[in-house]
Amino acid sequence: MTRLLPFIGFLLLAGLLGFGIWWNTGHDQTAIPSPLINKSAPDFKLPLLYEPTQTISRESMMGKPYLLNVFASWCIECGVEHPVLQAEAPTLGVALVGYNYKDAPDDAKAWLAAHGNPYSVLMTDTSGQTAIDFGVYAAPESFLVDAHGVIRYKHIGPITMDVLNNELKPAIAALQQEPR
């Protein structure tokens, strides 16, 4: 038994380290779980990018679920997810709402003109003040908000086809199956 002790110790340690490797390959270590999931989206009131005199708010968006996509022209990863959004926005089943984050409106417009505009509504937060309430820390981030204004799902980082098919679409399907 005493002779087996080091071996058992080794097995325990190997098991622990193996678990660590397995855990970290399945989880994005830089993604912090949002405390806002299943909570009411924060109150916001932001101007539209193309018509800055008009604003939209949490209340005005109530009634239908939507996907809020935080992006900026300076954000490199946003360019990675943009073709996916551009191609898949019509098949999402919910409105794709753009949240232009800490961007100069002219830069954002130029970027959208070059890459295409998949958003059905597009608001702009130049100061990033409202984004703090959403717990945004790194664009791109996406929030799925239900018809009652509750955040149901959040993805940090670019939406790839994998994320879209394995996480986002099931989350949207779950929303649509709920009784209104």
Partner: protein, 151 residues
């Protein structure tokens, strides 16, 4: 002479610190106590984007925004606990360098103590066994075996 040097060194360090702090972000503190409180508070909070830097140290844009927000909340008379809660509500407990003692952090807080106790148990058991084996007609065969086991 030595004490003079020490004073000079200390003074230069203080000045250097003040100069850097001002070069980065001149915030209109109303007094030195408020500035110290701000520095203490931002050093206790983690930047969500850079993961292993405090809000005080980080140069990430979000860290700058959050520092400004903390300063604004201080101006509105919020306590340190309220400001921490404000950030936890938005960015989760990840932002706290000291996680609160709760059921899901018990292992984190008391795990090292548990390992220490297990280790102490192993040591005590080994010592007892060896002294028992050594006292009655200490058989040389067991002793050589033990030394062979010296891992």
């Amino acid at each position: 002479m030595r004490s003079l040097l020490r004073v000079l060194l200390l003074a230069s360090l203080l000045f250097a610190g003040a100069a850097i702090a001002q070069a980065i972000e001149p915030l209109p503190f109303k007094d030195h106590a408020e500035e110290l409180r701000y520095q203490h508070l931002t050093a206790q909070l983690r930047c969500p984007m850079c993961q292993n830097e405090t809000l005080a140290d980080s140069n990430a844009p979000i860290a700058r925004d959050l520092r400004n927000q903390i300063f604004q909340l201080m101006q509105h008379g919020q306590s340190d606990a309220q400001i921490k809660q404000y950030l936890v509500d938005r960015y989760s407990e990840f932002v706290l360098y000291d996680p609160p003692v709760a059921r899901n952090t018990w292992l984190l807080w008391f795990g090292p103590l548990l390992i220490l106790l297990v280790g102490a148990g192993v040591v005590v058991a080994t010592i007892r066994k060896r002294s028992r084996a050594a006292t009655p007609a200490a058989s040389p065969a067991v002793n050589t075996l033990d030394e062979g086991d010296d891992w």
